[in-house]
Every structure is written in C-alpha cells, then in structure tokens.
Symmetry: D2
C-alpha cells in the first residue's frame, strides 16, 4: 500500500488519475480503506466549474458519501470513536471544528470549513475525498459503524435515506395518516418516500417527468401510493383528486434545478402545511412565488441542509434490516478511473434511468 | 334608536349612507353600540373592487376592528360571554362556526364563512360591519372586555398590537437579546415593534421609505433601536453594520403591496432565522425568490393569518396600561359619513403620515 | 321506537334498567341509534362512587365511546356535520361549548361542562350516555363518519388507538428508530403499541404483570418487539439490555392505579427523553418521585388528556384498513342489561384476560 | 508568577491552600488569570462529601463560575477563540469532548467528563478550578468575551442570569403577558426574575421563607410584582388571588433541598402550563407527587440542566448594560484563602442574607 490512487478534479470537467503517498497517522487520527463512495448530485456543480463560494478548492478529490474499513487507527482516535482497525464505518462529509456557533448548537453539519470531498489536495495529507483508494481520518471526523454484510455500494444510501427521514419527519413534521407529496424521484426523493413510509403516511405522492418512468416505478415499490408525471398531468388537480380536496400535509421539493416545483408547492399544500425545500437550483431564483398564499393558508416553508446524527443512525439500521429493496436503487458502479463517467451519469449525460451511482476502488 | 346609520359599500369605490332597522335580539344574541372601528388596510381591496374570492359580498358594511358598549344582551348570551349590558367590549372579526377543522384545532381565526365587515347587508339583520352606529352580536361572536377609560379610537389598536405580539414572539420565536428586522412602518409594523420590545429584543430595526419619516420616528419612540430608509440606504449593508455581521434572528414583512421585501428577507436573515410574512401583495407574486438561500442558511418562512386569543388579551392589557404613547398612532378619526375619506386615507390617497384611522359614530 | 332502554347508575354500584321517551328533535339536533359503546376504565370510578368533582351527576347513563347510526337528523344539523340519516358515525365524549378558552385554543377535548356519559338523566332529554338504545345528538356534538363494514364492537377502539397515536407521536414525539416503552398492556397500552408501530419505532417494549400473559401476547401480535413482566423481572435492567444501555426515547405510563411505573419511568428514560403520563391513579400520589433525575437527564414529563381531531380520523382509517387484528382485542360484549357485569369485568372483577369490553343494544 | 495559589478540597469539609507550578502551554491552549469565581450552590455537595457519582474527584480545586484575563494564549487557540492575551473572558464549566452524542446534538453542556471545578489536581496541569490564582485553558474550553468595565464579582452572575433567561423563556416558554411563579429567591430565583421581566411577563411572583426577607426585597427590585412567604401564607391561595383564579403559565422550582415546592407546582399551574425543575434535592425524592393533576390539566414538567450558548451571550450583554442593580446581589467576596468560609456562607452556615458569593484572588 505504498500509494493511494485518486481521481483529482484539476480543472472544470477535467479529472486526472493521480497517486498520493499513504499518509502517516498518529495517536489522534487514522486511515480509511474506501469500499465505496456515492456520487452526490452536488458534485456536478464543481465538476462543471460552477462558482460555489469558497467551498471547492481545486485541485481536489471529490466524493463525500464514504464507506470503508478502518485501515489504521491511533490510540486516542480508537477511544474517541469506539473503533478498532478493521471496523466498517461511514464518514460524514463535514469535519466540524467543534468551536463555532454551528458546533455549539447541534448544527455541526453546517460547519464546513473542512469537509470531505471539497478540500484541496494541496492541504496535507491530500486524501480528503472519497473517489480514491484511501481517505484520511481527521481527528474531528464524524463516524458511524455499519454492519459487515451490507453490499458496499448500498451503504452510501444512508445519505438520501437519513435526509429523507429527517426532512419528512423532523423538518416536515409528518405523522401517521398524513398526505406527503414528494416532488422529484431522484435518490433523495426516494429517500423521502422511505421517510414518509416509515412514519405511516397514508398517501405518498411522488411527482416526476415522463423520463422518470423507471424512477417512479421504484418509488411505488418503496411505498409511494401514487405517482404523477408533471409534464403530462396537472399535478395540483391530481393531488386534489387523490386527497379528495384535502391536499398535502407535507410537501417536499427535491428536484435539482427546476424552480416551478417551489411555486407549485404553495398550491399543493393544505392549510397549516409545511413545505420543505431541499432541491438546489444553482442560484436561479424562483420567478413566481405567490407569497400571499402563504398567509391565506398559514404555510411554513423550511430550507433544510442535511440531517441530524440520529437520522444517520436510523438510516443505517434500516439499510442493515433489508426492509427495502435498496439494491434496485444502486443502478451504476464505476471504478476510481471511471469517476468522470460516473459524474456525467449523475449529471444526466448518460443512462437516464440512473438513480444511485457509486465509485468502487479496484481493491474491493 | 329606531334606526342605525351605516356606510354601505354598494359597488367598487361607491359608499352610500343607509339606515337599517335596529334588529330584534333574543336569548342567544345581542346588540353593540359602536364607539369606534379601526380602518384596516385590508378594507382597501374590497373598496377598490379587487377580487377576493367569496370573502366580500356587496352590498356590505365594512369594518372589523370594532369596539363598543353592549346595548342589549340575551340571557344565554350574557352567561356565555360573562357580560352584562353596558360592558365595554371588542369583537373579533371572525364569527367561528364552532364545527369545522379550523374551529376544532385552535385556528378559529381562519373560519371566516361568517365575518364582521364582509357579510352582505342582505343577510339579516344587516348590521355586520363596524362602520355603523350599531353592530349585531351573533351568538358565535368572539368577545373580550376592555377597560372603560381607554380612549375609544385607541382600542382598535389591539389588532396590530396583538398581531405584533403573536407574529414576533410566537410565529417568529423572538427571544430576549435577538435582532428583529421589521419591514414596513405602518400600524402593523409598529405593532411588531411593540411585540419585539416586549420580549426584550436588543436590536429592533424598522425599514420604510423616505415618505415614512414620521412613521419611522414613531417606531423609534415605541422602541425601535434603528430605522432604515430602504429607498436611500442599502438595507442589507446597514443591517450587517448594525449587527456586526450577525444579521437578524427574526425578519418580518408587513409591507402592503411591495414584493421586494420578501426577496430581501432572505438576505437579512442569519443562519437558522425565521421570516414571517404578513404583508398582503394583492396577489402579485414575488419575482426573484432565491430559494437556494433557504437551505444554505436553513431558514424558515411562515405565513401568518391573525393571532391567537391570548395575544388579544395581552394586547388589551398593554393598551390599558398606558405603557406606550398610543395616542400618537391614532392620527385620524372620521364619522360614519366620512367612511369613504377614511378608506382613501388608508389607501394612501390622503395624508401621507396617517398611521391608524378610525370611524367614530356620531353618538359618541 | 316509543321508548329507549338504558342502564342508569342510580347510586354507587347500583345500576337499574330504565326506559326513556325518545326525544323530540328539531333543525339543529338529532338522534343516534346506538350500535355499540365501549366500556372505558374511567367509568369504573363513578360506578364505585369515587368522588370525581362535578364530573358525574347521578342518576346518569354511563358510556362515552359511542358508535351508531344516525336515526333522525335536523336540516341544519345535517349541513353542519355533513351527514344524512342512516350514516354510521362515532360521537366524541366531549360536547364543547364553543366559547371557552379550551374551545378557542384547540383543546376542546377539555371542555367537559357537557359530556356524554356523565350528564344526569334529569337534564332533558336524558339520553346522554352510550349504555342505552339511543343517544341524543346535541348540536355541539363532535362527530366523525366511519365505514359500514367494520364490526360495531371494534369501532370504539378508535379511542385507545387515537390516544395511542397522539400520546406516542405528538405528546411523546416518537420518531422512526426510537425505543418506546409502554407501561401497562390494557387497551390503551395496546393503542400505544399501534401508535409506536405506525411511526416506525424500532423497539417497542411493553410491561405488564404475570396476570397479563394474554394481553402481552396481544401486544406482541400488534407490534411490540419485547414484553416484560414487571413482577418477575427487573424492568430497568431488561430495558438496559434490550437497548444496549441506550434506554428509552419515549416512556408511557398507561397503568391504572399503580404509581410505581411513574417513578420507574425516570429510570427507563434516556437523556432528553419524554415521559407521557396517562394512567389515572385515583388521586393516589406518587410517593417516591426522584425529581433530581429529571434535570440530570433533562427529561420532560407530560400529562395528556385525550387526543386531537386528526388522531381520531387517522385511527378510524386504520380500523377500517384491517391492518391490525383488532377483533382479538374485543374480548367481551354485553347487552345494555349486562352493563353492571361489563363494568365489573373492566374493573378486574371478572375475566382477567379482558381487554376491550362493549355494550351492544338488543336492537343490533 | 512562579506559582499559583489554590484552595484544594482534600477531604470532605477540609480545604487546604496549596501552590501549583504555573503550567506550560503551547499552540493549542492557554492560561487564565482569575479575577473572580462565583460560588455555586452545587459546590456545597462535594464540600460536604455527598456522593455525586464520578463527578468530583478529590483532591480538587472547586469553582466553575470563572471570569479572568487571558494571561497566555497559543497561536491556534487565539484563532479558534478569536482572542488575544489580555482579553477579559468567562469560561463555561463544561469542557466538551466534541465527539459524543451530547456534543453532536447541541447539548454540549451535558458533556462533563471534563469540567472545571470537578477534575482532580492529580490530572495535569492541576489548575482545573476557579478558587485559585490561575486556571488552565484547555483547548476545548468554551469561552465568551466580556467587557472590561463590569466589576469582576458581578460577571459570574452570567450563570444565574443566563439560566434564568433559558429556563423561563426557552424551557418554560413564557411570553409577554404571562404569569410566572418562581419558587426560591436565591441567585437562580433572581436570575429567573430577570428572565421573566425581560420577556414581558405581567405577573412575576416569587416565593421564599421568612428568613428570605432581604432576598424577596431584591426580587421586587429586579422586577417581581409579588412575593409570598411560603411559611406564613398559603401560596396556592395567594397565587389564585393575584391571578384572579387564572393561576400560572410557567412555574419554576429553584429551591435547593426542599421537595414540597415540586408538589405544590402542580397546584400553582394553570391548564396547559409548563413547570421547570432546576432545584437540586440532594437525591431526596418528592413524596407526594399528585400525577393525576398532570393529565387533568395537561401539564408539562421539564428538568433543565444549564443553558444554551445564546443565553450566555445575552446574559453578558445584560450585565454590561447596567440595566439591573446587580451589585446588590453581590453580597460577599472572599479571598482564595477564605474559600472555606465562602462555601459555608453559601451552605447557609453564615450570613442568612447572602445571595451571590465570590472568591477573588489576592492579585486582583
């Protein structure tokens, strides 16, 4: 293990395979042998060279949905994390500083001065991203154990599933018997289906486009009671029919790029409903946001960024339980060398039926 | 008291003075001798003939911010409300049915199938609006007592003050030490200043326009720590300065008609902040709503419709306490015959410095 | 239908079968032909002559878990409730006044000046209780429709099930993945099992006594993952084992009479947990309440009284769905003439395995 | 500054003055020159030798309400805390690990594996308590700046004041117009008076004993509207009178040792009220806790442990503002050599009128 191979984004749309020395580690830190890293839709923006503030510093190794085995572990790190070498873990994307307002108030997920998949390789020890053979375990890394017998490429699904649990149940406040409308059948939309199913929502309605036939089928298999093709049907009318005029208790927007679903959410919501916004619009503003509907119906709209620790734990337990046919969501796996193709697939430039895409190092 | 005089809206921008017979009342209902009725900004829309769904049914007597004396009271009504003839009361605008989902869930303020100031005079006994000598007390009316010694025209301020308490403290969740930004220095903006002052907000920032000099001065007198003229200063920069970069914990939009403040609220809010929307935009949509900021900062936006009963009680106690110089907010009083002029004043077609405008029957 | 038969509690432990004239009804009210009325544990106190403040006024017809068919319905009543004669409905126990603080704040369940099963037969039209052939439908009655094909004796289970949904999910805040401990395997404990199961609790632990073997078996059948016999096992130790030291996120006490479970709840709860108290102790105080544990673990203890309207609707839909084997909970059915025996059974003086007991009029 | 003097608890009720070498510090940590340390009521338990689990490890330097000047500061520590040498700061008692469930969920105040005022002097570098000339600034210390011109002995009042803000407003949910009953007029009770005053409570009622005459006078000076001597008056009756039967929206117990106030809180609370428990009972259980009142009135009881970071900041700003006559609360100041006498005073073995007691090193 003299060297670690990694896919480095050196310029927009330019990824090069490089080798890095395996880092030295001490008492406080460790090293992860990557088993799989999920490709997140948010990786497409830096790949395309979109400005994202200071978040992505090139050259860098993308990839922050990481599962692997503890290869090396310091003594203090072992105590801190309750781990030993060989344990199978997932690593959260944020590396919280522990001292800022976010960290002090239970919002450490928003402390992203340091973050896996966005730090430059020029910052020692370079291995900060998941599209690589190894990842450096920083002393502040947030780590959870996961069972040995889950196929590696399914484990990164803890992110859409934990987000789905958190967004539907905690942010949206969904309760048993509710109607939940989920706009967008991507991996996060499917995670929300699980979030809604788990809390006993009676009607789970997922919207997509004609091209999403396969994703919408998967949504139904996971628990959606109804699916709507937004480019062929009148979504508001359909939801009115399905709910006998009651409309939705919780509406989620997890569509990437489209702003129309945010506008439509105000019509899909019933009095007192909660709308959860999690779909990144690449800074395009919503151009027809009928704010008057918000007070005529006393609506609440919440922006959400990630999940709480409890949701991650519960998502991992759900994955381990085999309750859902998650293998059907894992549509594509690429090697580290195939990172560029993986990103293109997630960007919609490849197989239109892709749901969850992973990078798996050759040593797996 | 053979007849009750009232200002009847018979067609858009056409108000006629009519006389109605004083209604018979029985065991369950009563009659109110009006002392004053506040002119609400929301009365301008029906006066202008704007479509408001089924809410306003012409011909009608507008006016729903009503204070008066109990003139006649049935036996059962007296028990139900704990009142006797001669008591001074305010009457809430909504007349809740008591049997719908809103009524069953503590949201009876949204049960407006019947509502003072919006029912037609063709519905017996006609006296459903405050711009009149008398108002019919329906068995389902929601009533609160108020002290005898408050000047009549100040009492309708219970509405902006109770809304201010509710929107800032309950909807916005403001706590001692917070920064509260209030966009719009009208009577509701000033009510929000009181709401923010009462819960110990450390920085209370009110925005307005150049024409609002007098209203902004009043805001400072009530407790605002800073005021900003949005047409002369960069509001976001000023709030950044005032808060040393921290930005606002709670942002309220109580501007009528303008949509820019809704957009700007996303920039004024700090991470985790709550934005409260209460300014009616006459169905004009917001055209540049940067929803991405909502999840980058985990913002919550709430539409609010009115207040809870507790806020009304507390507002009445505050008015009675003389803690605030409320007489300065009562800039204009008109007779019932002057209703049209009163509505024009509130619509901005008269004195630009108007804050709170009331109609006072001649018998006062 | 000249007369309605009813079981009247004329003195403690003394029930007499009486006949009452069928009441006249008008535009505003109606009459219910009873199909079944559940026997609530709280009916035992008045039967035993326990002082309950002003709540129970003898002579009275007990019974407030009522299902039946609309026999007669006034025109206005039909509009108000959206009903027609022949419809199958349940009637809530409270008859809210619509004008008090409880009614105005969404807590109408606590407005019990008038209440089915506790008003005296001396108050016209006498038929205020469910242990009878007919029940008077007061204009303020709170009514929900239920499907025709559910066996009558199962319908009153909407009470423990809606309470269970509300107490576990809304009061307790249980979320997917949580551990929920339910102390007491009676019908309310079993309702809580359903409440916990529906929101995806991962560990549902029910405690009982040796005599509860059959009830604990039912609990497991409904979804409990573990059951504990509190008189044979160390409950705290067992929960520690089951949860690997994590303890419970939500603890409920639904034991009637016993105070030890309230004390123990403090030990069963993990840091930050919520404890929900719903078990009536007949005014016996808890004698060893270790309040220090409450702040060492930042616990919240909530007393709960009934449920919200949404939970009732959802419970009815769950009952109609046949998802749970509810017929197994319906262990005993008596005629109106058998009311005394029914009350003794619920009081534990009969079959020890009784769970849900109903009174069914002879006309069924 | 070769040596630091400190008061060391070597055995129950046995404090010895010792000298410790001034610790070496590096890039990550620092050293504080103590100006004053408040004596907390909770220090009495270890002084008396009460078992407190693993919390207090003798020999130790007590004292965790610490204010001082940064004497020495590493480069990384300076960046992390935004501090420079010479800055005046307060140090929170907890030294959070940053990696446990408490730390990850915004409850780092409960991560007390390391804690100022409870670590043994055998753990290098010994200076872990405030009753000393210097205190070691651990890399994980939680630090807030405070203005230079506040008298040192007033600064530790940030603890009762921030607790009061948090307990009354956040835990208790008090809003403008509420009635708040505070049982116990010690420094925490007085902090709660400020918490209630700041959020606009209309009735602030403080209970104490005959011996608390001076403390109750102080309570009124800070904003209490009523005070009650619980050994001379019927507290429940008095609160009923004062509130005209409405009773309290929020009840706090901040009495040390007494369990009767916890029982009485159930009677003082109105329907739907919140009771906040913060008074340590030295593990004595409450012996007559009438749990039935909890559901008849739908009460919520919350145990609270400390405060959130925001409350600390706001408390410091309030102290700096000179809004309250806090010097009157600072009744006693002792030197490090007088630590034993200070503890006895707080334990009630000295001046009965003591409110806030501080230790001030000789170098001040």
């Amino acid at each position: 293990m003299a060297k670690a191979k990694a896919a480095v984004l050196v310029a927009p749309r330019q990824i090069e395979l490089e080798e890095f020395p395996i880092p030295e580690t001490g008492a406080e830190d460790g090293l992860l042998r990557v088993e799989a890293t999920g490709v997140c839709g948010s990786d497409v923006a830096p790949y395309h060279g979109e400005a994202m503030g200071d978040l992505f510093k090139l050259p860098l190794i993308l990839g922050h949905e990481i599962v692997g085995r503890v290869e090396r572990l310091g003594k203090r790190a072992a105590e801190r994390w309750g781990l030993k070498e060989g344990d199978r873990i997932i690593v959260e994307e944020h590396i919280p500083c522990g001292h800022c307002e976010h960290c002090y108030t239970g919002r450490h997920r928003m402390c992203i001065k340091m973050r896996y998949g966005s730090l430059s390789t020029t910052l020692a020890p370079s291995l900060w991203g998941g599209y690589a053979d190894y990842v450096y375990l920083h002393p502040n890394a947030v780590i959870y154990k996961v069972a040995d017998d889950v196929p590696a490429e399914q484990v990164p699904l803890f992110i859409p599933i934990s987000n789905g649990l958190y967004w539907v149940q905690k942010s949206g406040g969904a309760r048993t018997g509710d109607t939940v409308v989920i706009q967008g059948p991507g991996q996060h939309g499917l995670g929300c289906v699980i979030g809604a199913k788990e809390c006993g929502a009676h009607k789970i309605i997922v919207t997509g486009l004609s091209q999403d036939t396969e994703r919408l089928r998967l949504a139904r298999e996971l628990g959606a009671t109804h699916t709507i093709m937004a480019d062929q049907e009148d979504v508001v009318e359909r939801v009115k029919e399905i709910t006998e005029g009651r409309m939705a208790d919780v509406v989620l927007d997890v569509t990437p790029g489209a702003t129309r679903p945010v506008e439509m959410a105000l019509d899909l919501a019933r009095v007192g409903a909660t709308i959860v916004l999690a779909g990144f619009k690449h800074f395009q503003p919503v151009t027809s946001f009928a704010s008057d509907k918000m007070f005529f119906k006393e609506l609440t709209v919440k922006g959400v960024w990630g999940r709480d620790p409890r949701s991650v734990e519960v998502a991992l337990r759900l994955i381990e339980s085999n309750k859902y046919p998650l293998h059907k969501l894992c549509t594509h796996t690429f090697s580290v060398a195939g990172t560029e193709q993986a990103l293109k697939t997630v960007a919609g430039e490849g197989d239109k039926n892709a749901v969850h895409v992973s990078i798996t190092p050759d040593h797996i």
